[in-house]
């Protein structure tokens, strides 16, 4: 009886320690409120990279009467020269816990050449209360369940930056779930070692991470979609190479302000 009780107590303590370590591991160690990253988006046209948009990623603190959250904002604007042909004004936002990067609210407000697409997800445990508008259709509300630890695209990017990548071995894989377009998609991150690349900080050693979606045509093959993250405390994504069914391109970091370290 005593042994059983001791075992249970030991397990409980172990669980608490693990939980403490896990939450500590996920606290925002690599970025802080005020951080602003700017990227130049290019699309590969017959082997020539053509620049077409600027992508900005900003972190800010937002306070309500009871809590404070991190506001992770991602905007995409086409360059002036493209605005007359195809104007993009996209906004993606996530409101997350400043400690665990757990998302509470996700918003998407896209305007692509006049085509409007809006989405709002309110996370409620293992379900999402969603509201969406597509084109001229009115507001549609729908609730759906999600597996545990499912995140939207914005909070996933920042979550990746907080993973203990330095401890990973080449070939290590981490599976996770992403919710996008009201569907949960299984994705995998594959650590592909380190590589030194030219960045705005000079030649930098970077972690090379392959991103792939399972059972999905969008992001196939771990070597086709790669994120290069600086192998330092800031873990800044300096280069993102993507290969989607309609072509390939890249996002290159052009400006970085208010980095944590």
């Amino acid at each position: 009886m005593k042994i059983k009780l001791l075992k249970k107590t030991f397990l409980l303590v172990l669980l608490l320690i693990c939980q403490y370590n896990f939450s500590q591991e996920l606290s925002s160690k690599s970025f802080k409120s005020g951080e602003h990253l700017s990227y130049q988006a290019s699309y590969n046209m017959s082997g020539v990279l053509t620049t077409f948009a600027e992508v900005n990623m900003q972190v800010a603190t937002v306070k309500t009467s009871k809590n404070s959250y991190l506001h992770l904002k991602c905007t995409a604007n086409t360059y002036k020269k493209w605005d007359d042909f195809f104007k993009i004004r996209d906004l993606y936002e996530a409101y997350v816990s400043p400690y665990s990067i757990k998302p509470y609210l996700y918003k998407r407000d896209n305007n692509e050449n006049g085509t409007i697409r809006k989405e709002k997800y309110i996370y409620k445990g293992n379900s999402i209360q969603s509201t969406y508008v597509r084109g001229r259709s009115g507001e549609i509300k729908a609730n759906f369940t999600i597996p545990q630890n499912t995140r939207d695209i914005v909070s996933t990017i920042y979550y990746i930056r907080n993973l203990p990548i330095s401890k990973a071995n080449s070939g290590d894989q981490k599976d996770f779930n992403i919710v996008f377009d009201r569907k949960t998609k299984s994705a995998a991150l594959t650590f592909m070692g380190t590589e030194t690349i030219a960045t705005i900080f000079g030649d930098k050693k970077c972690y090379k991470i392959g991103v792939s979606l399972k059972k999905d045509k969008l992001l196939k093959g771990k070597a086709n979609n790669i994120i290069y993250i600086t192998a330092d405390k800031n873990k800044v994504p300096v280069l993102i190479k993507f290969n989607i069914p309609v072509g390939n391109g890249q996002l290159k970091l052009t400006k970085a302000n208010n980095l944590k370290h």
Binding site: T64, Y79, D83, K107
Partner: protein, 106 residues
């Protein structure tokens, strides 16, 4: 040979003009170079036959002009985004609505 080169040259000049209109920079060079090459071949053929060389000259001229406009624009215009007050307002409004949603959630 003459017909095939003429077709390639016409297609090349159409693509060159289209690429000159769109801001895709140095990519215009590819169809422009092909068009110029076809233009030169056509010029030699026409000259050999003793025909009118206006068509190949026009093709070469347009291709060179398209390439010059595109590369000039790529050099002179920088990648800048336009100031968009409407988009900024959308962002502010979205943030305010999000705070209200978070308050409700609490």
């Amino acid at each position: 040979m003459k017909l095939l080169t003429s077709i390639i040259a016409i297609l090349g000049i159409i693509i060159t003009i289209a690429f000159t209109i769109f801001p895709i920079g140095n990519l215009t060079m590819f169809p422009a170079i092909i068009t110029v090459l076809c233009g030169v071949i056509l010029y030699k053929i026409y000259k050999k036959e003793g025909g009118n060389t206006t068509f190949p000259k026009l093709i070469i001229g347009l291709a060179v002009l398209g390439a010059l406009i595109s590369s000039g624009r790529a050099l002179l215009t920088s990648d800048k985004i336009a100031e968009d007050i409407k988009f900024e307002h959308r962002q502010e409004k979205s943030n305010q609505e999000a705070i209200d949603d978070l308050e409700e959630l609490e």
